[in-house]
């Protein structure tokens, strides 16, 4: 019988208007990786924050090594050997990586009590090397990409030499390759006796890592299984409450005329000589490692960022959008990568968020028409199954996946020709994912051209007609989905030669 390290019983937590946890239980063994799963909004992140003392539970019991205990602050939890990597990176962008790692438990010199920079830098670098990070610990956190910030968060958890490490969707921002790296690290931690709670929406993460799996649904505890005891379908049923027969909808492949074409698109320092086109009714996947420049290319097309050379053609006519306003007017829509910073106004209600890109449609001459707005927002929110009591709920109170659905609704409010989706299913639960795939497919079927930026191989292979692979700002391959393989894509993304101009 393995030793139970942490046990939670009957945990209840209510937010104004929402019961986030309703009598939830959980136990964690010494030296296991415990997968925690559930739909968006099931209460996973809230549960984690209760363990680490960010929130105090309204009811229930927490036992650490059999002793009842409550952490009043995360610092407190850290002292008891509990470290957490939160779902949304909580870094200090203006400080160095070293400081981000050691903030809260800085290394001090013995007598003078001054910060021991030399030691902190070298230890931080050691941790980074251990994680194969490939950047220096002196650089500013804000200069790193989200994926690299995630690595720093892991280093931070390691630095506290915690007995329990909690990871809330650590792979959401990572590519396949980087995820592999993370698996390796996680397993080696476990092998050193650390217990790990691992939250993810990706079945392959859980399949690969978890020794046991616990599922929450609608704020309730559903069950705990040994990894071998439950297959994928059963797991999905546990999470969603029904079967999802088909993750990727059947795609009717009969693309029409070309809608958007980019030729030799170049932005100094970001990407060079990018060519591709997308046709009516087609889903084009844009894939590659994080930092390959996919986002930058699409932002340049959308008019948010400039480009130095090359041209863009919409339905055969050369155009140049100097701002998203023009791009939108011509029927281009863009779903940004970072839904909290770029996609939503968190303090606003759902409805207002949805209508933001199309204020013009809801105003007569000057005046806004709130009724029309509410109707349309309600229609879209229902269509995308946003889980919220009303469209007047604040976006900040939604779970990650539901927030993403709201951002998605923002796109659908306008008439479109081309849709660019930058990692649309990042951090989205499996039910919502299926829904989003269906929406994407419907859009393609209706004749829209879709550009899908994705780092998830199954998604790329399951959804697209064609695949463009980027590496270091260059297109290294253009592949027909039906005639390619995962190996070929990864090869183009990681190994292919890039010819520097």
């Amino acid at each position: 019988m393995p030793k139970t390290l942490l046990e939670l019983k009957n945990i209840v937590k209510t937010f104004p208007g929402v019961k986030a946890l309703d009598g939830v239980q959980f136990n964690l063994h010494q030296g296991e990786i415990h997968g925690l799963m559930g739909e968006n909004g099931a209460g996973k992140s809230t549960f984690i924050k209760i363990i680490t003392g960010v929130y105090q539970p309204d009811g229930g019991e927490i036992l650490l090594n059999g002793q009842p205990l409550r952490f009043s602050t995360p610092m407190d939890a850290q002292r008891h050997g509990v470290a957490a990597i939160y779902q949304h990176v909580t870094c200090y962008p203006d400080l160095s990586v070293t400081e981000n790692i050691f903030m809260g438990h800085e290394k001090l010199r013995k007598v003078t009590r001054r910060i021991d920079w030399t030691r902190m830098h070298s230890e931080a670098q050691k941790l980074l090397n251990q994680l194969n990070a490939g950047f220096r610990s002196q650089i500013r956190m804000g200069d790193l990409s989200v994926a690299r910030q995630q690595i720093v968060e892991i280093a931070k958890a390691l630095s506290t030499e915690a007995k329990i490490v909690i990871m809330d969707e650590p792979t959401a921002a990572l590519t396949q390759h980087e995820s592999q790296e993370l698996y390796r690290i996680t397993e080696s931690l476990r092998d050193h006796g650390v217990s790990i709670i691992f939250i993810s929406h990706r079945l392959e993460d859980i399949e690969r890592l978890a020794d046991r799996i616990t599922v929450f649904r609608d704020s309730r505890y559903i069950g705990t299984w040994q990894a071998g005891q439950i297959n994928q379908n059963q797991l999905i049923v546990a999470m969603v409450g029904r079967e999802i027969t088909q993750m990727y909808p059947k795609h009717s492949k009969n693309p029409g005329d070309e809608v958007l074409r980019v030729e030799n698109l170049t932005r100094t320092g970001y990407f060079r000589g990018v060519n591709f086109q997308v046709r009516r009714g087609e889903i084009l996947a844009l894939t590659g490692l994080v930092g390959a420049g996919r986002t930058e290319v699409c932002e340049a097309i959308f008019g948010i960022a400039p480009f130095d050379d090359g041209s863009i053609f919409l339905e055969g006519k050369q155009i140049q959008w100097s701002s998203p306003v023009d791009a939108q007017a011509d029927g281009l829509a863009f779903l940004p990568e970072d839904r909290q910073k770029q996609g939503l106004i968190l303090e606003w209600e759902i409805g207002k968020n949805i209508t933001l890109p199309a204020l013009k449609y809801f105003s007569n001459l000057f005046w806004m028409d709130p009724n029309r707005e509410a109707k349309e927002a309600g229609r879209l929110a229902s269509k995308l199954a946003v889980k919220a009591p009303s469209i007047f709920a604040k976006a900040a109170t939604l779970s990650g996946g539901n927030q993403q659905k709201v951002v998605f609704a923002k796109l659908l409010i306008r008439n479109l020709k081309v849709i660019i989706l930058d990692e649309p299913t990042k951090g989205v639960d499996i039910g919502a994912k299926a829904a989003i795939y269906e929406i994407i497919e419907n859009l393609a079927a209706e004749g829209y051209a879709v550009i899908l930026i994705s780092s998830e191989m199954p998604e790329v292979l399951g959804m697209s007609d064609r695949i463009v692979v980027m590496k270091q700002g260059h297109v290294t391959a253009e592949l027909i989905t039906d005639q390619t393989s995962q190996e070929e894509i990864l090869n183009a993304a990681m190994v292919a030669e890039v010819h520097h101009a």
Partner: protein, 334 residues
């Protein structure tokens, strides 16, 4: 280096670049003034430039800390007036009071007001600009009330008290010495102590600070407390230097201090600010005040010129920085 870094090592960090730009700007202005009036770079003029800028510089340190926490303090002009008035009244009453006691008194009074702002902002979550705007009115009003509308004049102050600002240590004016000490302590504090770094962390991301359990409120409170203490110190120095305390002392001075900080690269959105930049920002303002009278600019033109120079300084900075960033991108192998 065990590994090849992915991000190329940059020759200069963006902040350093910014400071270099400002430094060049200052040198250019200095040169231009020097050509018009050779007195500018004389020892005596430089001494007076720094003496007159010392108080601004001391205040800028406190304001930087407050700005780093995403705050702002508009009450410092009023606090200077109040502490100056009260210490002057004390000195007038007890001429034998040792100067350092007067300084201490000023610092303590300043810290009391700083603590009040700190409680309002950090404990009661009042927005900094509102809390300190309110404090500004209250403290300024109180200054008139405690003084009964009277001034304290130079003959009422002991020589020892006035020597706080006019005396010399190692041949250097006390004000400059005090400013240097403040800068050294501040530089050490924000770079090498835990609390100092944590103030930056709180400003950089308050939510993260909260979640990782930093004492966010206490750190913000501390920033206002320090600002208050430095304002109190400045109040004493001000009164000692000008040998007069009056109700409208340092009215509107907060804007000068904020300008010095922002010129020096402190960001009003928190988390960013360096001592060296602060020195440059302060010196640039000091030069503007010192140089224009020297080169015989009509008094009616002085204001316009000062504003233009400030604008030119910040815009050149942006342009220089954009340019170097473009170069850096060009060098990046893509």
């Amino acid at each position: 280096m065990p590994e090849k870094p992915l991000n190329q090592r940059k020759f200069l960090q963006p902040e350093q670049l910014r400071e270099l730009g400002l430094l060049l700007f200052i040198l250019a202005i200095g040169l231009a003034v020097q050509l018009r009036n050779p007195v500018f770079l004389s020892i005596s003029n430089i001494t007076s430039l720094f003496t007159n800028t010392a108080i601004l510089g001391i205040l800028a340190v406190g304001m930087m800390l407050v700005l780093v926490t995403r705050g702002i303090d508009l009450s410092i002009g009023a606090i200077i007036a109040f502490t100056g008035m009260v210490t002057a009244l004390t000195v007038a009453r007890f001429p034998g009071l040792p100067p350092f006691v007067a300084i201490l008194e000023g610092i303590i009074i300043g810290m009391v007001f700083g603590a009040l702002s700190g409680i309002l902002v950090a404990r009661l979550d009042v927005l900094p600009i509102i809390a300190t705007l309110g404090m500004m009115n209250v403290v300024r009003g109180l200054t008139y009330v405690v003084s009964g509308g009277q001034w304290v004049s130079s003959y009422q102050m002991s020589d020892g008290f006035k020597a706080i600002a006019t005396g010399k240590l190692f041949g250097i004016n006390n004000l400059i010495v005090i400013a240097i000490v403040v800068y050294i302590v501040a530089a050490y504090y924000i770079r090498h102590t835990r609390v100092g770094r944590r103030i930056y962390a709180v400003g950089s991301n308050p939510e993260a600070a909260e979640i990782s359990g930093l004492p966010r409120r206490r750190l913000i409170f501390l920033a206002y407390l320090i600002m208050g203490g430095l304002s109190g110190l400045a109040g004493v120095l001000w009164v000692a230097k000008f040998a007069s305390a009056q109700g409208n002392t340092a009215i509107g001075y907060e804007l000068n201090v904020i300008a010095a900080c922002i010129l020096g690269g402190v960001s009003i959105s928190g988390g960013v600010g360096r001592i060296f930049g602060l020195i440059l920002g302060t010196v640039l303002l000091g030069i503007l005040n010192n140089a224009l009278p020297l080169i015989n600019v009509s008094p009616f033109w002085q204001m316009g010129i000062q504003g233009l120079v400030i604008l030119a300084a910040v815009i050149t900075n942006v342009l220089v920085r954009r340019n170097t960033e473009r170069d850096a991108l060009r060098r990046r192998a893509i």
